[in-house]
């Protein structure tokens, strides 16, 4: 596969005062140019930490292992200067909460200009023109006067559009989007998703979309990777994974959702709570809550295995799931 970004055996351990937290453990991902990969999981599954580890945005108490390969170079060992060149210009990032992610005391224009100044050779006039163009691109009208305004003068949806404009300023080939619609009103969520999809195809950009919302994944992602307790459960084309899951966790997750075809079917909540990740189990982290669990699930960690072309799953019950539906 022609890959834009390849994540190999990514691990993130937080060294906190009270002990270690294993937030991400052995995650492999690959994103092709122009592809939209969804990374789903519940709160605390490590999906946002994975995204931040890729761009090396975590703070010093996070110890990252593995490799993040971008154009043949490992971002995790790249010198600071070279990393600055990849951030913004190669890999753009947007966060969940635009009000928090935009600097409250700098104008939107300046916050766009910073990216342009860092990554393009444009002169002042060129950067101004490009900034106006970017606001137009993300659907912010009256760009010239909007550039002089500050984040608190924007509405929630407009702030998210502004953040997208900033992230896209230097034409990145990959956009890392960390729950980009979670903080927004439902009506605005849909607009922002459409905008992201339009930008991805217009700018032939790839996107890693981190979300807890399987509905969002179904409507936007080409492929999906499911995470649980810091580990990858399964990956594959979105339609296949959501219609015929090959991991017991994905299966349980889907049964807990109201689906279209099963309007009368009872929702099945997943019993129990996600495991503590300060003491990872030697086996499958989902085993204690899993209805398909076998004795070995508690002791032995299932490895990621190819189950079909382009699909992989780390579940001992992967073959039983296909027929059980």
């Amino acid at each position: 596969m022609n890959e834009l970004l390849r994540v190999e055996q990514l691990g993130v351990v937080f060294h906190a005062a009270r002990g270690r937290v294993y937030a991400v453990d052995g995650v492999d991902l690959a994103i092709a140019p122009g592809e939209v990969l969804g990374l789903v999981g519940e709160s605390g599954s490590g999906k946002s930490v994975t995204l931040r580890a890729i761009a090396r945005l975590l703070h010093e108490e996070a110890h990252i292992t593995g490799r993040v390969l971008w154009q043949g170079r490992d971002l995790l060992t790249l010198p600071a200067r070279a990393l600055e060149q990849v951030r913004g210009a190669g890999i753009g990032t947007i966060f969940q909460e635009p009000m928090a992610a935009l600097n409250p005391v700098l104008s939107i224009g300046l916050q766009i200009d910073e990216s342009l100044r860092a990554h393009t050779g444009l002169d002042a006039a060129g950067r101004r023109a490009r900034a106006r163009e970017l606001l137009d691109l993300v659907g912010i009208a009256d760009a010239a006067s909007r550039l002089r305004q500050y984040p608190h003068e924007f509405s929630g949806g407009m702030r998210q559009r502004a953040m997208i404009a900033i992230a896209l300023a230097a034409n990145p080939k990959l956009l890392l989007a960390d729950e980009p619609t979670t903080a927004l009103d439902v009506t605005i969520q849909d607009q922002i998703l459409r905008l992201l999809l339009r930008l991805v195809s217009e700018l032939s950009m790839a996107m890693l979309l981190v979300t807890h919302d399987l509905g969002v994944v179904a409507s936007t992602c080409d492929r999906v990777a499911v995470m649980y307790a810091g580990r990858l459960c399964e990956t594959g084309p979105t339609a296949q994974v959501l219609h015929a899951p090959r991991h017991a966790y994905t299966d349980a997750l889907l049964r807990a959702l109201p689906g279209e075809g099963a309007a009368r079917a009872r929702l099945q909540p997943i019993p129990g709570m996600p495991p503590r990740i300060d003491h990872p189990s030697p086996g499958c982290p989902f085993a204690p809550r899993c209805t398909h669990a076998e004795p070995r699930c508690d002791r032995e960690r299932p490895a990621m295995q190819d189950v079909a072309p382009g699909r992989a799953s780390a579940c001992f019950a992967q073959d039983r799931l296909g027929v059980a539906a």
Partner: protein
């Protein structure tokens, strides 16, 4: 509300503030124990002399009339003559005020120059050796009284090493600076400790802000992230603190000028209190209060410049 309206409103606030200061100073002087005329002329003055002085001081009029007169004179900068020096109070203060202004300004510069870089180092190395060393050093500075710091500086750098003069003000601008270095340092020490602690905490609060991570994610230089995104936001609170500290800095100047024999208004205030030189005390209190309110005004305006959310 536009920022212009906010600014005009803030400027107008200074009028009731100044009026209130005038009332307080006026009332305070009238509450002072003992009759001012008796204390000026002594117990053995003739009735005629007392009456004459009362008239010339305006003390035979009603309190309201006296207040109006006081305000009118204060606005004209006329505070009468000093009882101790026999020259107009305004001229006396005009000689001394620049000295204190320079001392305070130097103290502010020293405090900021010490506090800002060290706060940065402390915050970026939080809870590690540099941070702990800096905090302990400043804690000592913060808990040492000015007069003690002053005396230590005097005995070490003036008396022993003879790098600096033991007191006075010298003549000529550079000589003034040379004479004021030790007193300004003594005055700056506790302020710089307060600023350092405040800025360190503010930087720690900001450095993990989402917008700082977002700035890093944009791939701008680390230096820009630190100065434009971290320092600028952290400084907003510290600037306010600095503005609010000018009042206590002037209070500290009284002590510093006494220890270092610097002929500023702080020293003048102390001398005047001991000499019961009421016109000087009155005028100085008024002027210092006005200086402090103007500093507060300047602080508010500076904050508006730094933080676009204010006044919108």
């Amino acid at each position: 509300m536009s920022r212009g309206t906010w600014l005009v409103g803030r400027l107008l606030q200074i009028i009731p503030t100044l009026l209130l200061i005038g009332v307080v100073v006026f009332v305070l002087v009238h509450l002072l124990p003992g009759d001012i005329v008796t204390s000026m002329l002594g117990d053995h003055a003739t009735k005629q002399a007392v009456a004459n002085l009362r008239r010339s001081l305006g003390l035979d009029r009603t309190l309201a009339e006296q207040f109006v007169l006081f305000v009118r004179n204060a606005l004209r900068g006329s505070f009468g003559d000093s009882l101790a020096h026999g020259i107009p109070v305004a001229r006396l203060i005009a000689q001394r005020l620049p000295v204190t202004a320079m001392l305070t300004a130097m103290a502010v510069v020293i405090a900021v120059v010490l506090a800002v870089p060290l706060a940065f180092v402390a915050a970026l190395r939080a809870e590690r050796a540099p941070d702990i060393a800096i905090r302990v050093a400043f804690q000592v500075g913060l808990s040492s009284p000015i007069f003690y710091v002053g005396l230590v500086l005097l005995s070490v750098f003036a008396a022993w090493l003879r790098w600096f003069p033991v007191g006075g003000y010298g003549s000529g601008f550079l000589d003034h600076i040379y004479h004021l270095i030790l007193p300004a340092f003594a005055l700056a020490l506790s302020l710089s400790a307060i600023l350092m602690r405040n800025l360190r905490a503010a930087i720690l609060g900001v450095i993990r802000a989402e917008y700082v991570d977002f700035a890093r994610a944009k791939g701008i230089a680390a230096r820009l992230v630190l100065f434009r995104h971290v320092l600028r936001n952290a400084l907003i609170a510290t600037v306010t603190l600095l503005g609010l500290s000018i009042g206590s800095l002037l209070g500290g100047a009284v002590v510093t000028e006494t220890v270092f024999a610097v002929p500023g208004v702080g020293r003048l205030m102390v001398d005047s209190i001991f000499a019961r030189d009421y016109p000087v005390i009155e005028a100085l209190t008024l002027i210092l209060a006005v200086v402090v309110s103007i500093t507060f005004l300047a602080t508010d305006i500076l904050q508006m410049v730094l933080d676009p959310r204010i006044g919108r």
